[in-house]
């Protein structure tokens, strides 16, 4: 039988990598990719726990998370394009008119 702990550890590591990426990266798209990594770590947690607990709630949750992530990506990339059009850059160091 699978051991749920190893899945949880992997997803915790993934989540941390995503968090560190958000905090250290400078390119807005890479930051967003790191956020996606965090969300997928959460998905892995949900699926592993769902299997471990033997109920489907967690897997249903994952569907919602994936849908929402897609919607967020659509809006987020549009915002980045709007910013790029005005500033010719998507580096967060250039997001600096107001104090960050």
């Amino acid at each position: 039988m699978e051991n749920v702990n190893s899945y949880l550890i992997v997803s915790a590591i993934l989540f941390s990598i995503g968090t560190i990426g958000v905090l250290t990266r400078k390119n807005a798209i890479v930051i967003f990719m790191c956020v996606e990594l965090m969300l997928n770590a959460v998905n892995l947690t949900f699926v592993a726990l769902s299997r471990h607990l033997g109920n489907l709630d967690g897997q249903i949750f994952v569907f919602f998370v994936m849908t929402v992530a897609a919607a967020e990506a659509a809006v987020g990339l549009a915002l980045m394009i709007a910013f790029y059009n005005n500033k010719e850059s998507i580096d967060v160091e250039d997001v600096n008119i107001m104090k960050w």
Partner: protein
């Protein structure tokens, strides 16, 4: 082969949400056929829609009705918050038109987006399942990211949208991870069932998974409430976003964050109250103090109100940390009156401002008291209410929040709150000093007050004063709302 039976669904508890979603989608279609100069009509339609949704929501007052096998509920708590969201949306729709026309970004998509935001917030307040709350939160956030960056040609607005998006998505990750861990610890995402599962644990505070889940969820909600130390996005986003949207963001989503957090913490995790109220104690002190101290040195009035909005989240957190009926009813009361006074103040800022978001400094209020006495009086009412002076709604709200804390035994917290409140008087009164005691610096070009803005100012003044004079009227509803949660 087994047929999948579709359970009978009672749609009546989410009638206001359905109505607003349909209206918003219809408006998106109608928008295509409305010529650029007549986009205001979309605003009028959405305002009427908001009023109708308000009537539909009020009709749900009374006995709770569950639906979608217990993942949505129509109870007084949800209804009260729905009214707060609708009030803020209605007022913002009224003030948006003139601003958007001045900034030449009067796109018709504005109104549907506001309505979608309201739908998301309503689902957050009505959700009794972590899934529903998450979905509501995302519907709200995704619409708000667009609204913050709505003025596409303006770099500040772009920045606000981008920052809000990146940090919002980041905080969603924490919220979700918290939900996942809570699910793992309890085996369910249904709030009532989480409460049962936690109640059966011998010592729930030693369950690391549950406690970690609780703290991560708190992080996610604190971000939406703009509570320190998760407030970093607030000043920039509030300053950069179009002013009506700033007004909306400071009133609606903050209340929605409180609605969802109150339900999760009071209903699902009451057994851990000792633990979470300690965390909230610290959050409340940090939020009030950081918000007020930083607000003292702001010259840009939108940025000042952003920090003040952080401070106000701190006052509400005082009631949340107390967690008793006085404190939590105080939150409901405070969020409603805050919507009135804050959106009213932003309406005046819109009228003072000039094209391209200039004229947004405290100094630009100089001489307003002589040039336009009525507007100055209205602004004074809002500022007095924000500062918490009697006989305004802000005073009664703070009074209940702090007395909740005292009843709970958090006398120190209440004292810190009162001291903070006193410090905040400085930066609110500074605006009034400029309005009444300084001569205008340059020729004051007066912008016409359009009828919708006048109406919203009237409603806001009434909403900031009447609950302060006859508080029991609203407070009794707030107490009923919190009782049946």
């Amino acid at each position: 082969m087994d047929m999948i039976t579709i359970p009978a669904v009672n749609l009546s508890p989410i009638l206001p949400e359905i109505f607003l979603s349909v209206l918003a989608m219809a408006l998106l279609l109608i928008n295509v056929f409305v010529p650029g100069k007549q986009k205001s009509y979309l605003g009028y339609i959405s305002f009427i829609g908001v009023v109708v949704a308000g009537v539909l929501a009020c009709a749900g007052w009374g006995t709770p009705v569950e639906s979608f096998s217990g993942s949505v509920i129509q109870d007084n708590f949800a209804t009260f918050f729905k009214i707060i969201f609708l009030v803020s949306a209605g007022l913002v729709i009224l003030i948006a038109d003139q601003y958007m026309e001045r900034e030449e970004c009067n796109h018709g998509e504005l109104y549907p987006l506001i309505l979608f935001t309201v739908v998301g917030m309503m689902l957050m307040a009505a959700g009794t399942d972590l899934m529903t709350i998450f979905l509501g939160l995302e519907v709200m956030s995704v619409s708000l990211y667009v609204l913050a960056g709505f003025n596409r040609a303006n770099l500040k607005s772009n920045e606000a949208g981008l920052k809000y998006f990146l940090l919002g998505a980041f905080s969603t990750g924490f919220l979700l991870y918290g939900m996942a861990l809570t699910y793992g610890a309890t085996g369910t995402t249904r709030i009532a069932k989480i409460a049962t599962a936690v109640g059966q644990m011998s010592v729930p505070s030693t369950n690391i998974m549950l406690v970690a889940g609780m703290l991560l969820m708190l992080t996610g909600f604190a971000f939406k409430m703009a509570a320190a130390p998760f407030h970093m996005w607030t000043p920039d986003v509030y300053e950069g976003a179009p002013t009506p949207m700033t007004a909306f963001m400071s009133a609606g989503p903050k209340a929605a964050g409180f609605a969802a957090a109150l339900r999760v913490f009071l209903v699902a995790l009451p057994t851990l109250q000792v633990e979470w109220s300690q965390v909230l104690w610290v959050l409340a002190v940090l939020t009030m103090t950081i918000g007020n101290i930083t607000a003292l040195r702001q010259d840009n009035i939108k940025r000042m109100l952003a920090y003040s909005s952080i401070a106000h989240a701190g006052y509400a957190l005082v009631g949340f940390a107390a967690g008793n009926s006085t404190g939590t009813a105080g939150i409901l009361f405070y969020m409603l009156s805050y919507a009135f006074m804050n959106i009213g103040a932003f309406a005046v800022i819109i009228l003072i401002g000039k094209k391209g978001e200039t004229n947004g400094n405290v100094m630009d209020f100089a001489g307003l008291g002589f040039r336009h006495p009525v507007l100055a009086v209205a602004m004074s009412v809002f500022l007095f209410s924000l500062a918490g002076m009697p006989p305004t709604a802000g005073f009664i709200g703070k009074f209940y929040l702090f007395s909740g804390a005292v009843q709970k035994g958090y006398v120190g917290l209440a004292i810190i709150g009162v001291l903070n409140s006193a410090a905040s008087v400085y930066y609110y009164l500074r605006v009034m000093v400029y309005m009444y005691m300084k001569e205008p610096t340059e020729d004051f070009e007066w912008t016409q007050v359009s009828a919708p803005i006048a109406l919203s100012l009237l409603i806001s003044v009434a909403g900031s004063l009447i609950p302060g004079i006859v508080p029991s009227f609203i407070l009794q509803y707030a107490e009923q709302a919190i009782k049946l949660i």
